[in-house]
């Protein structure tokens, strides 16, 4: 627990971390709605208000920065030997990974809340009610944790601060070809195929449903499954990499 607190303390003491964390999600909301507002005029687009569509995308992207932050801290900690010192101490191994992920989950609440408030102010609807809002939060926090776990694994594997650019690029590459900005029905060719099998699509669908209509189980369970699988698989990989450090 104290490790999570250590990370949180670091955030509070460093405005340079908190400002991009607040600004970036705001920027996503403004840029996605401003630049692509006309996209809703395409016949077949499910909503007239583009914010209803892109809020979920902005939210996942904002939350993913929290996950990247956890991986970044891990890279620094590895670099200055802090992790090796922890490995030599009698604390539980698992907490070396659980703590930063817990911290990611808490930290993700900030960008998610910012996106939710900014969306509401730009006229987003929420027919899904409290349940819709809750699922948006779950999707955001979960997405942040999955990216965080993936980032931890890559950083532990590469053992190098440069791992961060790899993590960033891959996170970007996975999130991009999805239904983030355009619904599946309007996608064709390879993009339709990639977006359909991309698990990010499931997570987005879960986060987005409340903005478009009532919450349904059919739009929820694939997202939850994707998050659960992502967390378990990447968490296990990170655990394996951590074990490998100390024979």
């Amino acid at each position: 627990m104290w490790m999570t607190r250590r990370n949180l303390t670091r955030v509070v003491r460093m405005p340079s971390i908190i400002i991009p964390m607040a600004i970036m999600p705001l920027f996503f909301v403004v840029a996605f709605t401003g630049s692509f507002s006309g996209i809703t005029e395409v016949p077949g687009f499910p909503t007239r208000q583009v914010i209803n569509w892109v809020a979920a995308y902005a939210l996942i992207q904002g939350a993913s920065f929290a996950g990247l932050g956890a991986a970044g801290s891990m890279a620094t900690d590895l670099d200055d030997g802090f992790i090796d010192r922890l490995l030599l101490s009698p604390i539980r191994r698992s907490s070396i990974l659980v703590a930063p992920l817990l911290y990611t989950a808490i930290r993700a609440l900030i960008p998610i809340t910012i996106v939710m408030v900014a969306s509401a102010m730009s006229g987003a609807a929420m027919p899904g009610g409290v349940l819709g809002v809750t699922l948006a939060y779950v999707a955001g926090v979960g997405g942040g944790v999955v990216i965080g776990a993936f980032g931890l694994a890559v950083v532990l594997r590469m053992n190098d601060i440069r791992a961060m650019s790899v993590v960033q690029t891959l996170a970007f590459v996975v999130m991009f070809p999805s239904i983030g900005q355009v619904p599946l029905v309007l996608l064709s060719g390879w993009m339709h195929w990639v977006a359909r099998i991309n698990p990010v699509t499931n997570i987005l669908r879960m986060a987005r449903q409340g903005f478009l209509g009532p919450v349904t189980w059919a739009d929820t369970w694939p997202g939850l499954l994707a998050l659960a699988i992502g967390t378990v698989v990447f968490g296990a990989w990170a655990g394996y990499e951590l074990e490998r450090r100390n024979p």
Binding site: S37, V173, G189
Partner: protein, 272 residues
């Protein structure tokens, strides 16, 4: 080696000072191009990411080109060409700043300053290096776009014009990066300026036409006087007016950024 010689023969004034300055600027530009080329991590993203965004967006927004307000384009890919070139410049010109900041941090800058190199050459070499590299990257991008069937209606002249504008823009943007580097001396701080260029890109017609925007956002996006004329060269055809507009605006931005970076340069030389 002879004992305590005065000045080596090269300083007897036989070689023209202007020529020496030029040679020095050229040598420094060459060095900055070489070191960029040798660290692929610095330039590969500048090619790959714009191409990836172009590929994804042109697939995602293909149907948007059917909207009546959308400018007459062959494909969304064609629409994206100037945006991709600009993104690549944002990356490349950012490098000019971070590389200079690294030089300052590790002391290479001091080595230059302790040599009798003409002071301007250091700045000029760094920024020209970025311009040359950006021009090269733009050429590669345009060729890839052509290969994937996104024609430049302005023809060969249009392609040359785009590369020329790209080089100028790299100078303009590089000037800001260099100014921040000189001001802070920190590669991290310089690097953190990078997302700002993306804000500028998004708040323009780079990814979606302004005709389909509304409100204040549309007004902001319409005041980008570089990307619109450049795109007109791509989707309509050759026009001197468009070329001159893009060049003039870029030059104006360059004038601001270069004079700022020169001020920061003098400040670093004075105080430090």
């Amino acid at each position: 080696m002879t004992a305590a010689v005065g000045l080596p023969s090269t300083f007897d004034g036989s070689r023209h000072r202007f020529r020496v300055t030029l040679e020095q600027g050229f040598a420094l530009a060459k060095r900055s191009v070489l070191s960029t080329w040798r660290s692929p991590a610095a330039w590969v993203p500048g090619l790959v990411l714009p191409l990836m965004i172009a590929a994804v967006y042109s697939a995602q927004f293909a149907m948007a080109t059917q909207l009546p307000q959308f400018p007459p384009v062959d494909s969304f890919l064609q629409y994206m060409l100037p945006a991709s070139v600009l993104q690549s410049i944002a990356f490349g010109a950012g490098n000019a700043g971070t590389d200079l900041a690294t030089d300052i941090e590790n002391g290479f800058f001091d080595r230059l300053m302790a040599s009798p190199v003409a002071r301007q050459s250091v700045l000029v070499g760094r920024i020209m290096g970025a311009a040359v590299f950006s021009g090269f990257e733009s050429l590669v991008l345009v060729l890839v776009f052509l290969a994937f069937g996104a024609p430049v209606k302005g023809g060969v002249g249009g392609v040359i014009a785009i590369i020329f504008i790209a080089g100028l823009l790299a100078i303009a943007v590089g000037g800001f990066g260099v100014a921040v580097a000189l001001r802070t001396g920190s590669p991290e701080a310089t690097q953190s300026m990078f997302p700002l260029t993306f804000v500028f890109l998004f708040m323009s017609s780079a990814f979606f036409p302004t005709e389909l925007m509304n409100g204040w956002y549309q007004q902001v996006a319409q005041s980008n006087f570089i990307i619109d004329p450049t795109r007109r060269l791509v989707i309509y055809g050759w026009s001197w007016t468009d070329l001159l507009q893009a060049v003039a605006v870029t030059l104006a931005v360059a004038a601001v950024s270069l004079s700022w970076s020169y001020r920061m340069y003098l400040r670093r030389l004075e105080v430090k």
